[in-house]
């Protein structure tokens, strides 16, 4: 297990440690002194962390060249909590292709967003606080990515949730931001409850089955010495999964494994905003735009995808859990794409687009099995490319919002001439997400479509195919409305290009969005036997490109010009359009369920019980204590004679006790 060599491998803990140190230093020492310095220190720390991540990737793939086998290494770990002999939790760093991939994505996007934010947040009241939180987030996300066991994963998972909460609610004077932050926190916490129960199930049964397991596989001789019952290496081991799936949950009729994995998936679905837990993500756009780019597009929301990928052998072993992943992913993908076509707020369109793309990644994981694991590669590939072009889209949107001071696309327009660099980079990202050759999205989307069809799921393939067309449509819709035509608002008339600190990161992301598609991902990330899928499957690529072009064309037909055609098209759709625009009334449904049903029929009786029974008991004990205090204080008469009597009585009492106890 520990064939690790190389300096960076041994010191891989530096990658999350640098942002953590910076978080403490910036938050406590730098930020109160100089806000400018806070931004610079925070940015430098993340860039140093990024450099370490690149070095680590280089060392790993030098050691295990592309195309060969890629072992899972834990080059550094430290015993954190020891519950009892045979059950301790380590903190450590796990290095394998997908953690390296995520490290690259997180540190790269985070560095660029940090740089960008130095200009975007300039002059903001909470500048220092902003960078402190951003560092905290980056640390938590990196800690999550490198977690070698499910406990560290869970701790960092919650830390990520907290930093997301803090950043969504960054403008805490704005009621909408506060309620969005609360919504995000409550919805993801609710989902994390499932995750927690899943973690408990896995660790409990993992610990119970551990002795048999280590005897059976010969853990010590098999390179698994030192493995703990909560480590992924153990939880993903076929011998453990076989035993775990033999346990049955009588009242559900499933195996314990399936139950645990579905509960874990609940957490993943919350963080990755899968239907029906997606409602927090569009509202999360209340946070500063660079935060949306980093957290709610490129990194945190893919944590759920990453979790499923990390536990992929377990999900694949329980076919039911994999099926759930696939169905939910496919449905969310389509559902969000449809809503995305009708929204007016540029960031909300991007948010629904993110939902849809996350669904894509999930469905790719769901269709793959241990025999045919192309979807695994495809999903990670799409995660990788999506991070860059989606972050770029958000940063571009941020630049536009920064210039015109509104989020509504109908108040923009004609920005292509006023903001040429933003325009070009946004166009590249739009082409990438629409899946147009040679931009990155084309390749990763192609892999997903191939894996769905070849994995024997034609229906899922059909959904993904339709979503590809819808994606091109809604992306070009906002592109045409924002950048083409004439300026429609006051802000649009006076817009000007973003400063270099902002457009440089965008330009870099544009380059990444253009070229990352050519990376032969299968050589780096694959599961089990190396897949022989190379290059492009023309039978799928051509129709996919065609449907994307169709979407583009429709958008151009409807939205170039004065938009009259779009209005008549909306009218022609009648009520359906309205339902979609209101996001299928899912939020209203939630309100109805929580307010009318849960609050009324569950919360009220509990509150009554609490107020009258529990509080009554507490109050009674308080009353008894206070009353005895009042009674006893009468002893204190203020008369010296009384005191003397008590004193003398005390002597008699001492004699009495000694007498009784000793004679």
């Amino acid at each position: 297990m520990d064939g690790a060599s190389g300096w960076m491998m041994q010191h891989a803990w530096l990658i999350p440690a640098l942002p953590l140190a910076s978080f403490a230093i910036v938050g406590l020492l730098v930020s109160p002194v100089s806000k400018r310095a806070a931004g610079i220190v925070a940015t430098l720390a993340i860039m140093a962390s990024a450099a370490c991540a690149y070095l680590l990737a280089w060392e790993y793939f030098t050691l295990y060249p592309p195309g060969g086998k890629h072992p899972i290494l834990v080059p550094w770990s430290y015993e954190w909590l020891r519950y009892q002999p045979g059950l301790s939790v380590n903190v450590g760093v796990l290095v394998d292709p997908i953690s390296v991939l995520l490290l690259i994505v997180v540190t790269t996007v985070s560095s660029l967003v940090h740089i960008y934010s130095n200009a975007y947040m300039h002059g903001d009241h909470g500048f220092g606080r902003y960078f402190t939180f951003l560092n905290l987030f980056t640390f938590s996300m990196l800690g999550l990515v490198v977690a070698p066991d499910i406990i560290q994963m869970y701790v960092c998972w919650e830390l990520v949730g907290v930093s997301s909460f803090l950043l969504i609610g960054f403008y805490y004077m704005k009621p909408s931001a506060v309620s969005a932050a609360k919504k995000a926190f409550i919805v993801t916490r609710f989902a994390d409850l499932g995750f927690l129960v899943g973690v408990i199930l896995l660790s409990y049964f993992g610990f119970r089955l551990f002795p048999e397991w280590s005897a059976e596989v010969g853990a010590a001789t098999n390179g698994l010495a030192g493995t703990q019952p909560v480590d992924f290496a153990y939880l993903n081991h076929p011998a453990f999964l076989a035993r775990f799936s033999e346990l049955h949950v009588a009242f559900l009729g499933t195996s314990m494994l399936t139950l645990a994995m579905i509960l874990v998936y609940m957490g993943a679905a919350g963080k990755s905003a899968m239907f029906p837990l997606h409602i927090w993500l569009p509202d999360a756009m209340e946070g500063p735009t660079p935060v949306s780019a980093l957290i709610h597009a490129a990194t945190m929301v893919v944590a759920g995808v990453y979790l499923v990928a990390r536990l992929f052998p377990a999900f694949a072993y329980s076919e039911t859990a994999a099926l759930v992943v696939m169905v939910v992913g496919a449905f969310t993908s389509l559902f969000a794409a449809i809503i995305g076509t009708t929204q007016d707020d540029i960031k909300r369109v991007l948010a629904f687009s993110t939902l849809s793309q996350l669904g894509y990644m999930m469905l790719a994981l769901g269709v793959c099995t241990t025999e045919y694991a192309a979807g695994y590669t495809a999903s990670m590939f799409h995660l990788f490319t999506h991070a860059f072009f989606k972050a770029l889209l958000f940063l571009g949107a941020g630049a536009v919002i920064h210039a015109v001071h509104t989020n509504s696309i109908w108040e923009m327009g004609g920005l292509a001439k006023k903001m040429p660099i933003t325009h070009i980079t946004f166009l590249i990202a739009t082409l990438a997400i629409s899946g147009i050759w040679p931009f990155a999205g084309f390749f990763s989307k192609d892999e997903i479509l191939v894996s769905a069809l070849a994995g024997g799921h034609p229906l899922v393939f059909g959904v993904a195919f339709v979503v590809a067309g819808l994606t091109a449509f809604y992306m070009f819709r906002i592109y045409f409305v924002t950048f083409w035509g004439h300026g429609r608002g006051e802000g649009a008339a006076h817009a000007h290009e973003a400063p270099a600190v902002m457009w440089l990161p965008m330009a870099l992301l544009a380059v990444l969005s253009s070229v990352t598609g050519f990376i032969p991902m299968g050589e780096f990330v694959s599961l089990g036997e190396h897949e022989a899928h190379h290059g492009i499957n023309l039978a799928i690529a051509i129709p996919a490109t065609a449907v994307a072009l169709l979407g583009m064309g429709t958008a151009a037909f409807l939205y170039i010009g004065d938009g009259r055609r779009a209005k008549s098209a909306a009218l022609a759709m009648g009520g359906a359009y309205h339902v979609i625009k209101q996001k299928f009334y899912i939020d209203e449904l939630y309100l109805f369920i929580t307010h009318r049903i849960i609050f009324h029929y569950i919360a009220r009786p509990i509150a009554w019980f609490d107020r009258h029974m529990v509080d009554g008991g507490v109050n009674a004990s308080g009353w008894v204590t206070r009353t005895s205090g009042r009674v006893l204080s009468f002893m204190q008469t203020g008369q010296v004679q009384t005191y003397g009597i008590w004193f003398t009585g005390g002597v008699a009492f001492v004699i009495l006790i000694l007498w009784c106890a000793l004679l």
Partner: protein
């Protein structure tokens, strides 16, 4: 000879103050308090650095051992902070000047005499020295309690204290007389050896009399009655001194009595100690709840704390002695920190009711924070030092098998949290009474509060202090076993 130098320095300072006071004008008398503080500081330094931790003088009547060494440091530290806290009140640097307080030379020298008494008390090795030094420690306290001559409450406090103190002294000296009669020696160690035999009714009577006197000093129920009235009536700095130094002296006396004089018997008296501990904790806590005057409130809080101290006598000495000494240190620091805020508030407003503290967190946030931290430490909230100290004491009782007592103590801690929170609630939740301006605080007082607050927090976090106490007192226990 060198083991008595700290005492000599304190005595010398006390006399120097009395003499200097004669020749000073009222205006130049401000230097008296710094002089007293310097003398105490020098004595502490000499004791800490120069004095050997073992040795004896005067034919074995005056002896030094690690426990005495620690007690002396604690007595002098308590006195030093009392002096620092008295400066504002005595110099009249206060928003509301207290009536009839002054006579700085006499005041500070009286405190110093009382400290010397306590220092001799813990070094005494024979009945006569023990009794005389106990009286030397206590008599100045009667005077101090009545310091505000034209305040009837202060006079009442002094009078009650002197009457009950005389009663306690009478019981003690009667008990000592019987012991002398039974053993035929005044040497404590010799008495302890000769008493190791079957019970006799006379011995029982002597024990009860001496223990009652100890209970008086330590405010053990039902010998605690004086505390509430005296604490309330005495000038506030004197109340602070009574609550820490006098209690420390009580504990030192209890060490002398229970470990040296009746060392062989104490393991059989577990039930007695447990019953008194439970009574003291419970009564102190329950009655504290209904108090309105903050000084009276602190009196009952101090009574309940005495109950916690008793837990330390239940276990083996090698665990109990360091635990009690550590808790004494924690208690002195926390209680003085709380009193520092109370003295400051009384100086600036002349008010002593808990309700008067409302809104303090808005007008003087740092003072409110210091008071809150001190009270939370007394309540035993982690990670403050009070928690650690209580933890050691509770674990001793639990190891000795007194689980019911630990349960009682835990319930009492909860009750105490309630009444400490009453003060915190006034400061943090209730709005200020009138358009409140921040109250000013003098440099000396602010610095004292800051030092004490740092102590309250750090004693709980850094384990070195306890380790050091533990390591040094183990040697003392070994010497006890031989003697």
């Amino acid at each position: 000879m060198s083991i008595i130098i700290p005492e000599l320095i304190v005595i010398g300072t006390a006399f120097a103050i009395v003499l200097a006071d004669l020749f000073m004008s009222e205006r130049t008398r401000v230097v008296i308090a710094p002089l007293a503080a310097l003398g105490l500081l020098a004595a502490i330094a000499v004791n800490a650095i120069h004095t050997p931790v073992t040795g004896e003088l005067l034919g074995g009547r005056f002896a030094m051992d690690p426990v005495a060494w620690w007690f002396k440091i604690l007595f002098m530290t308590a006195a030093l902070f009392t002096v620092l806290l008295s400066i504002d009140t005595l110099d009249g640097r206060a928003g509301v000047r207290a009536r009839g307080i002054g006579f700085r030379g006499e005041y500070y020298s009286t405190i110093l005499f009382s400290v010397v008494g306590m220092m001799f008390l813990v070094s005494a090795r024979d009945l006569a020295t023990l009794f005389v030094s106990l009286e030397l420690a206590t008599l100045p306290l009667f005077v101090l309690a009545a310091w505000r001559r034209d305040d009837p409450r202060s006079s009442e406090a002094g009078l009650k204290y002197v009457i009950l103190g005389a009663l306690a002294a009478a019981f003690i000296v009667y008990g000592f007389g019987i012991l002398y009669g039974l053993a035929g020696s005044t040497n404590l160690d010799v008495i302890a050896q000769r008493l190791a035999g079957p019970y006799t009714p006379a011995f029982l009577l002597a024990v009860a009399l001496v223990l009652a006197g100890t209970g008086f000093k330590l405010t053990i129920v039902p010998f605690h009655m004086w505390a509430a009235d005296v604490y309330q009536g005495a000038p506030t700095p004197v109340t602070a001194y009574l609550s820490v130094a006098s209690k420390a002296a009580g504990l030192a006396f209890a060490f002398q009595v229970l470990y040296r004089l009746f060392g062989g018997w104490v393991p059989h008296w577990g039930l007695l100690i447990a019953v008194f501990a439970a009574l003291t904790m419970t009564l102190g806590n329950v009655v504290a709840i209904v108090q309105h005057n903050i000084k009276r409130f602190m009196a009952f809080s101090a009574i309940s704390q005495a109950g916690y101290f008793l837990l330390g006598f239940l276990g083996a000495a090698d665990a109990g002695v360091p635990a009690m000494l550590f808790y004494l240190l924690v208690y002195i620091v926390s209680n003085l920190a709380a009193f520092a805020c109370i003295i400051w508030f009384a100086n600036e407003t002349g008010k002593e009711h808990i309700e008067d503290y409302r809104g303090l967190s808005l007008t003087n946030p740092l003072m409110a924070l210091a008071l809150m931290v001190a009270l939370f430490s007394l309540a035993g909230i982690p990670p403050l030092s009070g928690f650690v100290g209580k933890f050691f004491l509770f674990s001793i009782a639990s190891q000795a098998g007194y689980h019911w007592l630990v349960a009682v103590a835990a319930v009492n801690s909860t009750i105490s949290l309630y009444y400490y929170l009453r003060v915190v609630r006034q400061m943090y939740i209730e709005p200020p009474a009138d358009p409140a301006a921040p109250l000013r605080a003098s440099m000396s007082l602010s610095a004292t509060v800051a030092i004490l607050s740092v102590g309250v927090v750090t004693l709980g976090i850094f384990p070195m202090v306890y380790d050091h106490i533990h390591a040094t007192t183990i040697a003392w226990l070994a010497s006890l076993a031989q003697g």
